[in-house]
Symmetry: C2
Amino acid sequence: MGAEPRSRQETLALRKQLIGSSCKLFFPEDPVKIISAKGQYMYDENGNKYLDCINNVAQVGHCHSEVIRAAHQQNLALNTNSRYLHDNLVDYAQRLSNTLPKKLCTFYFLNSGSEANDLALRLARQYTKHEDILVVDHAYHGHLTSLIDISPYKFRNLEGQKEWVHVAPLPDTYRGLYREDNKDPATAYANEVKKIIDQAQQKGRKFAAFFVESLPSVAGQIIPPPGYFQKAAKHIHSAGGVFIADEIQVGFGRVGKHFWAFQLQGEDFIPDIITMGKPIGNGHPVSCVATTKEIAEAFSATGVEYFNTFGGNPVSCAIGIAVLDVIEKEQLQLHALQVGSFLMELLNQQKAKHPLIGDVRGVGLFIGVDLVQDQEKRTPATEEAAIIVTRLKEEFIMLATDGPGRNVLKFKPPLCFNAEDAKLVADKLDKILTELEKREA
Amino acid sequence: MGAEPRSRQETLALRKQLIGSSCKLFFPEDPVKIISAKGQYMYDENGNKYLDCINNVAQVGHCHSEVIRAAHQQNLALNTNSRYLHDNLVDYAQRLSNTLPKKLCTFYFLNSGSEANDLALRLARQYTKHEDILVVDHAYHGHLTSLIDISPYKFRNLEGQKEWVHVAPLPDTYRGLYREDNKDPATAYANEVKKIIDQAQQKGRKFAAFFVESLPSVAGQIIPPPGYFQKAAKHIHSAGGVFIADEIQVGFGRVGKHFWAFQLQGEDFIPDIITMGKPIGNGHPVSCVATTKEIAEAFSATGVEYFNTFGGNPVSCAIGIAVLDVIEKEQLQLHALQVGSFLMELLNQQKAKHPLIGDVRGVGLFIGVDLVQDQEKRTPATEEAAIIVTRLKEEFIMLATDGPGRNVLKFKPPLCFNAEDAKLVADKLDKILTELEKREA
């Protein structure tokens, strides 16, 4: 704010003093101070340029001029709540509806993926009049009380599992219950869903929803076998529940072939509710829930108003529209498909060369590199993954790990990430893996 | 977005088609389309100028140039998550800590008041290892699952009261249990808190928190008697719980005499947790929780990370800092005190003149006018209140009602609201009340 910028050490000291320590830093021992960013690059206080392979919020690239211009123009005119009529709200809803199956025609706007997932829960419960929620193992759906409860990734370390929460096996064909050698893993995993529903129903439980990320992310960049959602949807529908697809991390063109990740399951699959967050405002706090007329009507039938102070304000909607414009104009979905395929190719070349890489999986610019200590046993190479990420940081590349074993390198860069960037990160990975193998030899 | 603006009817039709009908409009029969705003004024598509008496989000005035400039400058440089070090985050926390008692020294940043209240719940429960929450009647704390549960204003119309929720009488000295004729209403209402705690404890319940707005707003612009919080805090502390002051609607200088509304209770009162929202970003989605070192440490002792994707990003923090700057530079707290006192004076003149006004109460620019059918019985004049608000809209003044009887006119304008605006609304109110009385005579 005009004053002399603080040194990194001073900023760190103030952060430790003032900010709750549950809010973690990347590389807590030696955190990075970022002061500016553009496209897929971030810059620290010394002018070092980092390649950002992980920020799936800055979807169309950090500080995109069109998005910033839209925000500024609308900020100059009006920013108020949605109790007044405004064109941006309906224009944005209309634009989103153009990307979705006709059935998903009613919209709610909010400020974060967590708010969206919480509203999805409320919609499902109001519509079904049931309480129970089925999730997949290692899932993470947000930081709110209601979402910690449905996130095995979190609740296992906190209060534990509530009686209304049920956990199905993660449909992971690399290290899950049914693997690449299974003839029909979609059916096998869907049968697990059915089994859990049946068992719970026998105890008198009633299901409101199957709540699942279209591509489970913190669970380790998982690509569920196509057809799994259709079969699981059939089972949850039979139990009177709805299917909620969490697209917060993976929607908006990231998967390349489609605009929405749930569409990877097949043309015939349509969820009952989808939730959107992270990328939709390119960093601005905005999120959305889309659902069917029937579910929306059941929700409003209570007569109770849903009011979200900032949700659907003209600035958030202007930004959302600008993000959609940029994705279209710059053909970022196609770009994600092409660069993602190229990066997969490069990573598969590394896999052929380095025994530490057990699996390379992904679609578009959502890719996981599963590191193993042993190709047969697929033991997670947790320590090696941490070393690689730290070494990459020293090479000015931002990458992170995920998965229950923290051994999956996750790529989810801004969609403007290009072939040259892909080449750079693959080369650096090659170099570091070679170093590691030499050290271990 | 460059296209011909839609007609109001067209916008309304699209809204009905695309937006969940639980999201209500002001004046649903004849809603207002607002296309721009400046200071305390809003403009519709025909250029009509409305005086805004209710937007407590646009705290320093709609579209304030300094706030917009801060947003734009930071948007041009960087908007990313708080896993990297950034000065804005620590600067903002430091600025907020300067407004607070030393004890409240740890900060969490989020995107909405609802997110803040949910985190406050999590903090209280983690710290106390208890579950139960005590609230006051008619309270509203937000739209999330966990907050509907602690909001009698909402849960009474939905699933009802959870076994872990306890409701104390609203400390309303005009139409509550203990009134202006009670010698010590603070103690009388605090004893009710004690009674409820005692009864619940006898059933084995354990309290995590007393959760209360510093000035209950949707409950009808209530001013709790000074000293009530101290005494209630003693009781909740004895039960092992903490005191959470919800400042979302009422903080940031609105009450005039103090920066925070809880300070109206007396110099000796400090909550254990306070939550902030609505006004802090002047419309930008930002919110905050401030708490003690001990509570923050208990929360992080679980080892579980708290990550909020957009929370504490450099843009939200830059905006937050700019809002604090404007409040200081323009002396808006003092202004709220002066204009608020003047408006109270004018409204009390109306009270002397019109039997429909039963009570005028308020501090700074947080004022309620309680309309009654009968001065003795204090029967809420619900219908008259609705007529007045509609008539005021025809006079281009935006006012709204609140309270369980929807009979309390609530004033909570942007803080730049001035003496001339106060005069205008008092005159219009006089005119409309006179009309109403003639009609009823």
